[in-house]
Amino acid sequence: MSNQKGRFGIHGGQYIPETLMNAVLELEAAYNHYKDDPGFNRELTDLLNNYAGRPSLLYYAEKMTKDLGGAKIYLKREDLNHTGSHKINNVLGQALLAKKMGKTRLIAETGAGQHGVATATAAALLGMECVVFMGEEDTKRQALNVYRMKLLGADVIPVKTGTATLKDAVSEAMREWTSRIDDTHYCLGSVMGPHPFPTIVRDFQAVISKEIKEQMLTLEGRLPDAVLACCGGGSNAIGSFYNFINDPGVRLIGCEAAGRGIETFETAATINTGKLGIFHGMKSYFCQNEYGQIAPVYSISAGLDYPGIGPEHAMLHDIGRAEYVAVTDDEAVNAFEYLSRTEGIIPAIESAHAVAYAMKLAPAMAKDQIMVITISGRGDKDCAAIARYRGEEIYE
């Protein structure tokens, strides 16, 4: 028997040091107070619309649709948000909440740098201090984003421990939070960690599926047949799925990073290769060995290079409501190039994982069916890395 608070089926919970317990309880109380507060929601909506540029477009990808010859394809353009990804949706919500709680300092982890940039942006706007933890390996893969964060006034701390990637950045941000709680809010970037984070982040990201639903009803007068999103921790995926969970006719498909393939050790596809465990504050699926040691996962995408998945996804997988497929580096890079050439849209390499699966799925669907792919971020940050992947010598 375990704590039922913050559970998604058997997943979730609050597996954190005692030192942080009052901090998460305080956060939960503040969130419950503000989430239905009209004043708070007015302020947040104003920021989302007039600062971040919401609602984001639901774009009919006509050339791609014709080229693939199957389902009608729409792209949910989270890449057009201010700061270039869906991360800003959650960050504005959490930063505003932190400010209401009297916090003056935001800390965050980041993988690809998108969440770090979004947090640094919100901190600049709201006049808060900001420290971002980023795996040293990722500071190299995403050097431009490191500069953007610094430009926005944030301190970026390269994390050298473990695999020096996203998981280590999360661990280090958690360690930092236990050492400084009074003035500091940990602005977690995905639907993971201890309760109430998976719920808070999901609620702030649910705007994606709320808009898709409204826009789809306006454009097509019906719901889509499938919604696809890339899935690391799973924040853009849960945001894209959430308002469709009770619409059983809508297939929900999370695209995980298979890295060099799910049959190799160089993969980050958690649902496809992981097993049940407890880590980073939550019970969920994790890539790990037989003794529960967390695996050093790999993906070309720094944002999906994480050994776990949010607890609500783990539950959606258990009950069969959502499907989780694995997409390799090669397939993602092909899709990155394909969307650039076909639609003139350069997607983040993370989002390219969803595009890659769509390229397989769309031709197998009927022409009167509709698919939505969430383009969670823009790919400018990835251009140098993809060029190097293709063997071109390029310097940022």
């Binding site: 375990s2 609050q14 005692e18 030192t19 942080l20 317990m21 009052n22 421990t161 998981k167 360690r175």
Partner: protein
């Protein structure tokens, strides 16, 4: 009654910590024997975890070295089996300190049953707070293993509930942050200890940040014992397979500082 109580019957308890398998299992065994010989009242044995989020850099690195050298949960159980057997068997209470996923992946029932079998008296899981403890404390109790609770400087109104339900001893986290040597400890340990003792009769020991005999004596003045981890792992990092006598001398100096308090 729990055997852990006996660790607190010899004046203020000195509780050293060691990461099992750093630099190798044989050295850990030798270190624990030296610890007992030099006055340790209870030893905390760390089962390494790949991503120890409650640890500072010193113990993180010890974990990584131990895993790289091939230690596993089963091999840690073997070390305890060796320690508890033969003419020179270790008699003092031994507790494990590890992370939830190490126990969960082994199967909690199976893990605690193995603990009982090899002679472990208690288990500390720093990433399992009061709200989540039943999942572990219930199978632990079934095997007669104490599930040890931690209380932090931020616990405030939670102290009563946690202390009233605590087993073995209460682990007082001296400071905010992670494990590691600190120049000074600013938390009012006396006040924490009084709140705890108002709710339980089991002993309490202070850990996090203690490295010198003076710090140990100051911390133990208000509690029943002092716990030291990072300072020891630093000695082991520096002395490798020759660590046992060095750690033994250190343990003696720390226990001496606690005598007569």
């Amino acid at each position: 009654m729990s055997k852990i109580k006996s660790a607190f019957e010899n004046g203020k308890a000195f509780i050293p910590f060691v990461t099992c398998g750093d630099p190798d299992a044989e050295t850990t065994e030798a270190i624990i024997r030296e610890m007992e010989r030099n006055g340790a009242d209870l030893v905390e044995i760390g089962i390494p975890f790949s991503d120890p989020t409650a640890e500072g850099p010193v113990i993180q690195e010890a974990n990584i070295r131990a895993l790289a050298a091939g230690i596993t949960t089963d091999k840690v159980f073997d070390v305890v089996t060796n320690l508890r057997s033969g003419a020179d068997a270790v008699k003092i209470p031994l507790v494990f300190m590890t992370y939830a996923n190490v126990v969960f992946s082994y199967g909690a029932e199976r893990f605690f049953a193995r603990c009982k079998e090899v002679g472990i008296d208690g288990v500390i899981l720093p990433d399992v707070p009061y709200e989540e403890k039943e999942e572990f404390a219930v199978p632990a109790r079934k095997s007669g293993i104490d599930f040890i609770s931690l209380i932090a400087p931020t616990s405030q109104d939670r102290i009563g509930t946690i202390a009233a339900d605590a087993e073995g001893f209460v682990y007082i986290v001296s400071s905010l942050g992670v494990t590691g040597v600190r120049d000074s400890i600013t938390t009012d340990i006396g006040a924490l200890s009084r709140s705890i003792k108002a709710n339980t009769s089991i002993p309490c020991a202070v850990g996090f940040g203690i490295s010198t005999p003076e710090q140990a004596a100051a911390a133990a003045k208000h509690a029943d014992g002092a716990i030291v981890g990072s300072a020891i792992m630093r000695l082991i990092a520096a002395n490798g397979k020759q660590s046992a006598p060095v750690v033994g001398a250190y343990v003696k100096s720390m226990k001496d500082a606690l005598r007569g308090l």
